[in-house]
Symmetry: C2
Subunit: 230 residues, 2 copies
């Protein structure tokens, strides 16, 4: 497998490039529009063909490159069905599979950070978007965020994956690149709560500023990032 | 193998944590002093015991945590013999091995960025310090840097590793986390030169500011980072 984790320093976003093999098909998860040129160059250098660009959810902190990549390559834009956007070629939901050659990612619906949050599962790793971060979880105070739903996504779905599953989130702010489900179960401070209500109280008690780019990014991302420059 | 790549945002330094297994011994490569607490916490959470902390070279852009880690754990501080520092427990040179349990890193002497630059080789990956960066190479204009020596280190040693060898550098400034020897051979713009002299001319033609922390970091790192706060 070809696997690349790429970091956008401005928004602290991780983008993931996956392909089964050289010469084969590739998938980009959570690409950032400003880095479109970098992705295109890297795809060429790795000799892979982008066929899918997917967001785990409608981001509020950066503009997606899903649309710009579709315009500049032959890839399909994939967004979750709950995103309800018109700009995607493909809408996915829990139980679906995103595949490039014989690499198959199983889609989990993991709402909470937003109501259109999904995770993508490979046998040895999971791409958790903003649902599960390394030693943290995504905020639940906007975009139909819901701490009760996030608790269910975390404890009912993600933490039930095998303990050794690698966790690749959509962001990190502390220089961490990867974790495991076992580590997050034990050491993620937000997951040490004794009840669902305690988690809801914890999340509702957070006082956070809106993301700097929220008023730009959310509407832009509803067009797969294509309308932000208009 | 337990493997973690950690990013220090201030200096764009990558630090690597390696261990053969849970409950076993661990090695840290190029740790940054400000992140000492983070390393200690992560070592505990991963249930590994730090036995070695090693720098690929005397860094000019950040203060090493090799000394602070030795003070706070039972680890040995390892530095290259060419660093000529008194603060290390172990000095290594080409042909030596750094081992944690049954994980063995072969030491290559790869001068050029500095005259005390080393790389560490595992069967599937190489830690290249500032000798080989992703689509770049370390500057050669201070600390006894030498573009001719760097050419020999690159073309005579690192690029002779198997093409699929993963390249983990000490820094990246463009959001890349890993590359391969094959990719760098083909796409690293500094490695497309036609002769050693062309490489020397290319490197000597770079006009670069001194690193912001150079006057602090280099003397501090000659004491394994222990004297910078004094």
């Amino acid at each position: 497998m070809i696997f690349r984790q790429l970091f956008d320093r401005t928004s602290s976003t991780y983008t993931y490039l996956l392909a089964a093999r050289k010469g084969g098909e590739a998938l980009l998860i959570d690409p950032v529009v400003e880095n479109t040129d970098q992705y295109i160059q890297l795809l060429e250098e790795l000799d892979v063909k982008l066929v899918l660009a997917a967001d785990t959810h409608i981001h509020a902190d950066h503009v997606t490159a899903v649309g710009s990549l579709r315009n500049r390559t032959d890839c399909a834009a994939a967004m979750g069905e709950k995103a309800g956007v018109e700009c995607a070629n493909v809408s996915f939901r829990e139980g679906d599979r995103l595949s490039v050659d014989d690499l198959h990612l199983d889609v989990l619906y993991t709402p909470g950070h937003t109501d259109d949050s999904y995770s993508f599962v490979l046998p040895d790793r999971v791409f958790t978007g903003d649902t599960l971060l390394i030693r943290g979880t995504g905020r639940t105070d906007f975009q139909n965020g819901d701490p009760a739903a996030q608790y269910d996504s975390l404890f009912g779905k993600l933490l039930r994956l095998p303990q050794e599953t690698l966790v690749y989130p959509a962001h990190d702010y502390n220089g961490m690149t990867v974790s495991t489900i076992g580590e997050e179960s034990r050491y993620n401070p937000r997951l040490q709560v004794e009840s669902k209500q305690a988690y809801i109280d914890l999340m509702n008690g957070l006082v956070l500023d809106d993301p700097r780019l929220m008023d730009v990014a959310v509407p832009a991302n509803r067009s797969c990032g294509l309308k932000h420059a208009a």
